[in-house]
């Protein structure tokens, strides 16, 4: 007698949202990029090597010595107060003037996104993202089943006229937008920076339509050229608004292994978020926070940022030069003034997801564009991270990539 094989006896119990969680060939292919022989432009991995882990030992020792048993205990749900003080000093460098009471500490920026999604999104709610947008944010939001509205970007960031039309259209239908999610500085994945005028306009729109802006700023301090643009949070504070929730992280200016991020938000929102932390993980690792506190109490952290900037800007320059030297005329790319990523656009007939297997066989990896869109676009686009590989490997990898792409263009044309 034939029987149906059941691998998972609990299938009938899962929430509907797990339906999107599938094995993916892209994820499997990209896991190959961890191999040392693969030149990886895929993951945006910070250059932690520059910190020299041996030099961090003293902060770990100090955290244990000063904190003693308490450093091994649960901490407060809103974060370790002395670290908050240090974070206010970090933010001051970007002209954001806030107090310790205006923030909570989270387990990385990713938890900040998840907590915000958790407290704001009901199934079917509307939220707006720039398009392309950070995959980690999209996935976090999607698990709360919202309707995600994508607004395209150009080299000055999200296109405000499109945003205005959409907000107006939704308001006419009596639909409330819960928030607008933006990475205004050297966006992940596009590398574009939102212009000053657009920042002001978006803030006004948020005010007009009574909604929030989530400003995610992981890369703001990693600027390699040009003048800094004020954060939307700064503009929000200066105009005495309360429309901006600001998120940042120590992953890029210190190290991602510590898993420390933070949220600056109006106090009632912080209260909800703190309750959210209590039900998520009680508190961010107090040991991690104490080590980070020690590190940011030593002025050396500022020198290390200068070192990071030196390393990343050289890598960006080499990647852009190599793209100009090797890539076919039909391709275009963003020229970020900071951050980790370059956004590549190929002729429309090329599908970056389909080319990936070939490039990985030739030992180069990148992330295909579709994952950064909530609506399935981005087939001919890709994200190239310049932060991970050294300059020699960047040049080599871009050359290999260019040869494969040129080859594909030729192949495609043979069908015409």
């Amino acid at each position: 007698m034939s029987k149906k094989i059941t691998f998972d006896y609990w299938k009938h119990l899962y929430a509907k949202r797990t339906g999107n969680m599938l094995s993916s060939e892209i994820r499997d292919l990209l896991s190959l990029s961890a191999r040392p022989d693969i030149i990886s432009f895929a993951g945006g991995l910070p250059e932690v090597k520059a910190l020299n882990y041996q030099k961090l030992e003293k902060y770990v020792k100090r955290a244990l010595k000063i904190g003693g048993d308490i450093s091994l205990q649960y901490g407060s749900s809103d974060g370790y107060y002395p670290l908050k003080t240090r974070l206010t000093e970090v933010m001051k460098l970007e002209n954001i003037d806030v107090n310790e009471e205006d923030m909570i500490i989270t387990t990385g920026g990713q938890q900040a996104l998840d907590l915000l999604a958790k407290i704001f999104i009901n199934p079917g709610d509307y939220l707006i993202v720039e398009s392309p947008s950070y995959t980690g944010a999209l996935n976090s939001f999607k698990s709360y089943e919202p309707q995600i509205i994508s607004i395209p970007v150009d080299s000055k960031g999200i296109i405000v006229s499109d945003l205005k039309l959409k907000l107006n259209e939704l308001a006419n239908k009596d639909k409330q937008v819960k928030f607008i999610y933006l990475v205004p500085n050297f966006s992940n994945p596009s590398g574009y920076t939102l212009s000053f005028n657009r920042r002001k306009e978006i803030l006004n729109l948020a005010k007009k339509y009574n909604t929030l802006i989530i400003e995610d700023n992981p890369y703001g301090m990693l600027r390699y050229e040009g003048r800094p643009v004020p954060t939307i949070k700064e503009l929000d504070i200066k105009s005495s608004n309360q429309n901006v929730i600001y998120i940042s992280t120590l992953s890029k200016i210190f190290a991602p292994g510590f898993r420390i991020g933070w949220i600056v938000a109006p106090h009632p929102i912080l209260e909800k978020l703190t309750l959210g932390v209590q039900s998520a993980d009680l508190c961010t690792s107090s040991f991690s926070q104490r080590i980070a506190y020690e590190y940011f109490s030593d002025p050396v952290w500022r020198e290390n940022i200068i070192e990071f900037i030196k390393i990343y800007s050289a890598r960006r320059d080499v990647m852009i030069k190599a793209l100009e030297k090797y890539f076919p005329r039909e391709a275009t790319w963003s020229k970020p003034e900071g951050g980790f990523f370059i956004w590549l656009r190929l002729p429309e007939f090329l599908n970056t997801k389909e080319i990936l297997a070939d490039t990985i066989r030739n030992k180069v990896a990148y992330v295909p564009g579709t994952g950064f869109y909530a609506d399935g676009r981005g087939l001919n686009e890709a994200r190239l991270a310049f932060c991970t590989e050294n300059t020699e490997r960047i040049e080599k990898g871009i050359k290999i990539l260019s040869e494969i792409i040129k080859d594909k263009i030729k192949l495609y044309r043979s069908f015409k």
Binding site: D8, A357, D358
Partner: protein, 314 residues
Amino acid sequence: MKKNIAVLMGGRSLEREVSIKSGQRVSNALKKLGHNIIKLDVDEFIVSNLTSRKIDLAYIALHGKDGEDGTIQEILELLNIPYTGPGVYSNILSFDKITSKQIFINHNIPTPPFYFLNESSFRELGTSKLLPVIIKKLELPLVVKPSAQGSALGVKIINKQEELPDAIISALGYSKKVIIEKFIFGVELAVSIIGKGSPQILPIVEIVPKKDFFDFESRYSIGETDYFIPARLSPTISEKIKKTAVRVHNALKCSKLSRVDIILDKKEKTPYVLELNTSPGMTDTSLLPMAAKEAGISFEELVDKIIKLSLDDT
């Protein structure tokens, strides 16, 4: 008796992740069977890793390139290390689907009608002009696939002529030759075979993917495919399928182990052979362990059988 067994996994293939899952599972089983396990990723150090210690047997848990194309088998032959699964010759024949399909034809084993084209022929010989001819001969829908790749990577089903170029370009990302094959409407079946001469044929697994075909997501996401075992077939048809599978196993000179993938045509009830796998998956959702379980063979017993066959061979 306790043996030193190297489990070869990972490697350079695009199926690396699946291979690691297979390898971990096999390693756990071997440990429970009381053997010494050395897990080896197949990278530039593989030769020195294999020669620097005493190894009684290499368990090949690799999928795709290097593991199923004869490369690792040739290395192990050179080092006089016994290994699991079929030998160099079978791997070479089965890895290239064009070669294996030609062998099926020579042995009068039904396989879906197909044509193959080289990547360079599109650019240098203008063979794209032949696509309408192929469509006329085979009729839509068609299956486009790379000649050498596992886990259905690069495989596409096309229903319209205009979809053909993209599907071909995609398949050519995986290998230098592309197969354009007639799509057979029918039931997907997998027959696992252990042993040689008169090998043991495990119960047939029937695969019913929720999507239009058994693609990567359907293979490795639990719940995306329904499996029926033994397949819902009449005894006569079952027998016919098993006989066909053994003919394939023998035609490709497989010893020890193989899994034959077949589509049973709905109308004519012809078992069309798609391919033979020399290193079938050993993950939680893989077909060989599933079939073994139905035959009353636990995962550990299956692994034990596979290694004993390989040790007996030497």
